[in-house]
């Protein structure tokens, strides 16, 4: 190991280690999770949001490019795949309940997916955003991998869609609890379903944190909405942009 004399050299040494950004990611999340717990899981103290702000501040202060950060952080990122498969577990555990509610699930998925696409593109048209942005916005409620594919298909920009998807997820996770309290929906199945449908994995993570039953319905809604939005988005966009 080379000798490190002054602090700026020390930083250069650290920033060369992918492991440093892996550690930063986990530490920032632990801080976010502690704050979230300390506030009694207040929706505004979202652990993902806090972690992003901490890491963002470090990256900006040290002028670290995103690609360098991701060299370390991708070890966490790859676990999203098996974790998504594992979302089958809460669905399986609540299968009796889900089977009983198939009518509500079918109705809510079709109408919810439609409202998600139509309000995103409709409001974007009304506020005069560019056609490219409208197309990038349309699939914002579904998980990033699906949304980017849809975006490309309807003439959007996949990287912009990825940013909009993550923003939607965080917004949904923050808004779900206060909104549901406001409109008086107390059933955790309905609350979770809304969170997973509108805010994909980040909404599902929030739902799992609050209640198991909500988490199961969120996971189900997330999976189904990916499929339904992929089918509906091109059709609805063609209608709206006519």
């Amino acid at each position: 190991m080379r000798k490190i004399s002054d602090p700026s050299q020390f930083w250069i040494y650290l920033a060369e280690q992918p492991l440093f950004f892996l550690v930063l990611t986990v530490l920032a999340y632990i801080i976010g999770d502690r704050i979230s717990k300390a506030t009694g899981r207040n929706p505004l103290a979202n652990p993902v949001l806090i972690a992003i702000l901490i890491i963002g501040a470090v990256l900006i202060a040290t002028k670290t490019p995103h690609a360098r950060y991701f060299e370390g952080a991708r070890f966490v990122h790859v676990l999203l795949g098996p974790a998504t498969v594992a979302l089958a577990l809460p669905i399986i555990r609540h299968r009796a309940l889900i089977r009983r509610q198939w009518r509500a699930i079918l109705g809510a998925i079709v109408i919810g997916a439609g409202v998600g696409i139509a309000t995103a593109s409709g409001l974007a048209i009304l506020t005069g955003l560019s056609p490219e942005t409208i197309a990038s916005l349309a699939p914002k409620s579904v998980t990033a991998a699906i949304a980017m594919g849809i975006s490309e298909q309807v003439g959007g920009t996949p990287p912009l869609t990825a940013v909009l998807v993550i923003s939607t997820g965080i917004l949904g996770a923050v808004l779900i609890t206060p909104l549901m309290n406001l409109i008086g929906v107390t059933d955790y199945a309905a609350r979770g379903f809304a969170a997973g449908l509108a805010a994909h994995g980040i909404g599902t993570a929030r739902a799992l944190q609050v209640n198991e039953k909500a988490g199961a319905h969120a996971a189900l809604a997330m999976g189904l909405n990916g499929l339904v939005t992929a089918l509906m988005a091109p059709l609805l966009l063609a209608l709206l942009l006519r």
């Binding site: 999770d33 993902v48 992003i52 963002g56 299968r95 808004l175």
Partner: protein, 114 residues
Amino acid sequence: MLEGFAALIVLQLIGEVIAGLTRIPVPGPVIGLALLVAYALWRGGVPPAIEQAGEALLKHLSLLFVPAGVGLIAFGDKLLAEGPRLIVVLVLSTALTMIVTAFVFRALARKEGE
């Protein structure tokens, strides 16, 4: 635990292969999720090893979104360049989607003991 983790990755891989071959617009992990649900319905449950590994991953699901989320900082200029309009659209559309979905679900849901 390790076998369970391996099983989850294998399910994802099978999902990726199916997605690639059939070109259905669903990502591999979501197909893997559907396969695991189908397996559990067929066998009446999930092997304890998968249960253990899966629960360990789901316990900190939020953590796994952090690296992708940091992309917000990298592409944040774009979000701000299109102005607050984009943010207004996101907030309104997300809120409306959740409200309508929850209401429709509640309206069609069977009540306890029905």
